[in-house]
Symmetry: C2
Subunit: 637 residues, 2 copies
């Protein structure tokens, strides 16, 4: 009997495993996905969905189904401290959850039961033929290379019985959570950034109270202890309460507390306000150890992600978001290697990019924990924070406000910045063309390794007002944004750009679809290549843009991806072409921005007449693609 072969075996159907599975299933990979739990998460485990994650979920077409559950939305955080007369607590300030200086499309945190989020992914997976095998667990694996194409052997078994299977796969992914069989077998250690451990109580329920901020996120410090309040869907509220800390004199990691004890503590902390519970949906006490895995993979065949690689306190609501971005980062890289587009070495950048983020997260978490443990600053200081909620940045800032402000960018997900590497262009990148634009030189605001700035434009084909950053779904394609400036100014540069893309041996023409002659008229995103979609944005009013007259055939083929940069934007009120202006590009001459499949900027290049622009991009892509580019004759696409 021949052994069953899969592209990937995924262990664990939490956020990281589900997002990875969903991407790869959509892109046609054969997946074995197992989870130890008989059913998806039933209660508890509500994480916040951060603004950046909402962008991602929308880009995957899943946001609407998630929002249909009517999650709570957190726009502001309130700080409560002991009142000066020592009688109870008072509010010392508030701060926007995602302040205006962060250019977020959805400037709020979304709170929803994790099980409801999992269900949205599971339903999408089922549409793509993947059914999660439950309750099954992994019992062994080896990256033995016996089969060159399917080098990993994985053994799995039913949790309750002796039913078992052995399969071979190209990849094995562990999204098992903090207790990972795979990580243990690999012998990968955990480094504890912050040696302080905590025991937390968490309680979800429906309450009655006269505490005015019960529907906001609050950190409450009182002489009777501290609490964090997080609103939830369905009129629920979550309370986090610290039960014990390793800094306590009587530290005991097994210390616990009953529901009633936590409720009594909450009543004392909230005084002079009263609070009563209608019902408790879920209650748990658990120890939190902060830690980060030393490696995310040893051989770029067996990978890990999510809680398996980084654990920390739940207070900043980062767990699910980091898991999502781990999975998204790995998904397109596996896809690009397996589809022959990129060199296998790019898989090293998964650990390179994501471990750095986890380290920032843990550093942040330890700062945040300290902040939460310390007495909050006096009213005068945080009063500024309150004024800042409107985005007014004129007020003098103290250290606390600066730290909190930096935190906002990080917790919103927009602070995530990948370091320079083969994907994220910098002066040290192998591509050396003088046409690369950089923030340092002031020639663009878009920074490689950062998310593309959001911009609202008018789609020429149907005059719909659209979010430019969302126009290409998460489909594994690089996104080529041709900011084409004024048509009268850039006509030749645009024609030359197309002609050079079309040339044999360009990065673009080297990866045309094998089925190029059978592409449907209705193919909108990938008429030429599965790895590129081109957006063209003109600085012109929509009715003046005649796509087939202004654009050469190659670019006009992306008819549904031509836009008019004619929507006024409050952030660049004096710009005539707001999208160009937000990108920091010339409104007359434009420029080209290359965005990775995950929405992060790769590089930006000047739009010039001649072959320079495409030459620069040939250099950029040559640094990680399987072919080398440049030279050669014109080819037919």
């Amino acid at each position: 009997m021949s052994i069953e072969r899969y592209d990937i075996v995924i262990i664990g159907a939490g956020p990281v495993g589900l997002l990875l599975s969903t991407c790869l299933a959509r892109w046609g990979y054969k997946i074995k996905h197992i989870d130890m739990r008989p059913v998806p998460t039933v209660t508890g485990r509500a994480d916040g969905i951060q603004p950046r994650s909402l962008d991602l979920l929308r880009n995957m077409g899943l946001k609407r189904a998630i929002m249909a559950n009517e999650p709570a939305k957190v726009y502001e955080v309130a700080f409560w401290d002991p009142a000066e007369n020592s009688k109870g607590i008072h509010r010392t300030g508030t701060w926007a959850s995602c302040p205006k200086f962060i250019d977020a499309r959805y400037p709020f945190t979304t709170l929803l039961h994790q099980g409801l989020i999992e269900r949205v992914f599971i339903s999408d997976l089922e549409q793509n033929g993947v059914k999660i095998q439950r309750p099954w667990r992994i019992t062994g694996f080896s990256s033995d290379g016996v089969d060159k194409h399917y080098p990993v052997e994985v053994s799995i078994a039913h949790v309750d019985g002796d039913e078992q299977e052995t399969v071979r796969a190209k990849y094995l992914f562990s999204g098992e959570g903090a207790r990972s069989f795979v990580r243990e077998q690999l012998g990968v250690g955990i480094t504890h950034k912050d040696p302080i451990a905590h025991v937390w109580g968490v309680m979800d329920g429906v309450v009655r109270t006269n505490f005015p901020d019960i529907k906001m996120k609050c950190t409450i410090h009182s002489d009777a202890g501290s609490i964090m309040v997080i609103p939830r869907e369905a009129n629920m509220v979550r309370l986090y309460i610290q039960v014990a800390s390793s800094t306590d004199a009587d530290w005991n990691p097994r210390k616990t507390a009953t529901t009633e004890q936590v409720q009594e503590a909450a009543k004392k902390i909230l005084a002079p306000y009263w609070i009563e519970w209608d019902r408790v949906e879920w209650y748990s006490v658990y120890p939190i150890g902060q830690g980060i895995a030393d490696r995310y993979t040893l051989d770029e065949r067996v990978f890990m992600g999510g809680d398996c690689c980084h654990t920390h306190s739940p207070k900043a609501g980062q767990g699910m978001n980091t898991a999502f971005l781990d999975a998204q980062n790995l998904a397109w890289k596996i896809h690009h290697v397996e589809s022959g587009f990129a060199d296998r070495s790019i898989l090293k950048s998964y650990e390179g990019e994501r471990k750095l983020i986890a380290e920032s997260l843990l550093n942040f978490d330890s700062q945040y924990a300290k902040l939460f443990s310390q007495r909050q600053p006096p009213a005068g200081e945080v009063g500024h924070a309150s004024k800042h909620a409107t985005g007014d940045e004129q007020v003098e800032e103290n250290e606390f406000i600066k730290m909190f402000k930096a935190s906002c960018e990080f917790t919103s997900g927009y602070g995530v910045a990948y370091d320079e590497n083969i994907f994220n262009w910098s002066d040290s990148h192998p591509a050396k063309s003088s046409l690369f634009l950089s923030e340092k030189a002031g020639s663009t605001t878009q920074r490689p390794g950062r998310i593309l700035s959001p911009a609202t434009v008018t789609r020429v084909a149907d005059a719909n007002v659209v979010h430019l950053e969302q126009e290409i779904p998460l489909n594994g394609s690089y996104r080529i944004y041709l900011f084409a400036g004024k048509p009268s100014v850039t006509k030749k540069a645009v024609d030359d750009f197309a002609a050079n893309l079309k040339k044999k041996g360009s990065f673009f023409s080297s990866y045309t679809r094998p089925d190029a002659d059978q592409i449907s008229y209705h193919e909108r995103h990938n008429p030429h290549s599965l790895f590129f979609t081109i957006n063209t944005i003109f600085n012109a009013p929509r009715p003046d843009i005649e796509v087939r007259a202004l654009l050469p055939e190659l670019l006009a083929r992306y008819f549904d991806h031509v836009y008019a940069d004619d929507i006024w934007d409050q952030r660049v009120p004096n710009a005539k072409a707001a999208a160009h202006a937000k990108m920091g590009l010339s409104e007359e001459e434009g420029g080209v921005v290359i965005v990775r499949p995950d929405g992060y900027v790769g590089c930006a290049v000047k739009l010039v007449e001649g072959s320079g622009t495409v030459d620069a991009l040939n250099e950029y892509f040559a640094s990680f693609c399987t072919k080398s580019f440049g030279g050669g004759d014109r080819a037919q696409l």
Copy 2:
């Protein structure tokens, strides 16, 4: 055997019947709902959902489910005319579907297969225990009054067999469509506003074409004939083509055309562009007769609405929208009568308000039809229209542009204005207080009988940025908007307002809930009365609003309906309190706006110290409520 009794029997499960049924089911009425068709609409019959209807669907909590079907959105209309050299067609201009001078939350028309819309309603009905009985038809009825409480006897039967039922009801509603058994039995005539009849061909399908505006709404006139193009969901396009008109020399109402003939005609009209069909989803040829029912009801027990009362051409996409608003108008009036809040005489206003709208619609339709039949104005004229798409109103206007502009307001649904009557205050209203505000006097911009202006505010309880006009769902309650100006200025006026609401014999305290002592802590909208919800909007930054400190107990009970008017609005860029400014109220002193349960303004009153404001409202409500108000002592709510 005793006869089964219902609050209402509804015939027909098209848009008008479904919306009526959905409202009444939610409000607890017992409904018998039948439809002649064995299943909901399968193909064809796609109507546009206009901006105003999207507001309504969102207010009912149904918009998300409808948008999940990814309808097409029309933001602009393009006009195509014969080219001057007589070689084919050229675009002479474009116009915003819902231009900026209309303050619409959703400034586009949504195009979706009617069956998908019906399914959203049907699913909601099922959640409320109403299942549509199919395929059943009405066979007879009489408003015999034999049973005082259930005066109407209705006989229904299975379409195919001899199974039949006779039931009694308080009301009978016909949403049967143009061929109405009920209307015929009542002997209600149809008046034809425009004697010209038409035969139309309509074809839905997936096409390939180089016609650039295929994803926009277009009116195309060529020497080879005329076509209207409407984009649809799922990459489809609808073509309307006039097959015959009673103004033709060889007029024959039975004239028809095959699919191929219509496709051939379309090819000729679109030349020099080419068009080919991948598939045709639906094709039909049908005669359109314009007409309006002389009465909508004879006895305020048997009512009619939707196509049963008004038929016209489908070109302006008004059918479903008018049907929705017919049903919404009737629903809350029946509810207010049956729940003992309002006098039975208010039911007369259903015909009074809705027939006027249908007459406007038919007048518009006949103008529109003429416009469509006539040669379009030369390029110079419509060139202005194109410039107007951005809302710039400085350009000189010709008659055609003026008509089209007026049409935009009407077709968007915002042109709907109900005449002055007991609900829509005017100088001739029985309520004579000098405190009523009016547009004429410049003391408010809100006009009775018009929809409340949209406004974005911050909800104090959770700091969420919300759409004020959507904060109260369509639940049968009047919406009391207390624009409370600056807290320091209005403190006494607000206290007095609450004290006078609370007084025995006020319009508010006269209709407290019978279960007032058992109201849940979590009741957000109707803690005191099922007929009123109060919103309070302060001109103050959100963190400065301490609800329980600023508001007396009665108003503070609407804790989730207190808002900060602190969001900047492009339409009133210099206002400090944009919502106050948009309502045309003093930003310092505020004012009270009473909005009917359907979102239309009833009246606006100055906010003053003393009893004047509530006195004025007592007068207003006394004109149609079952009780008389004013005087008496303080009552406990």
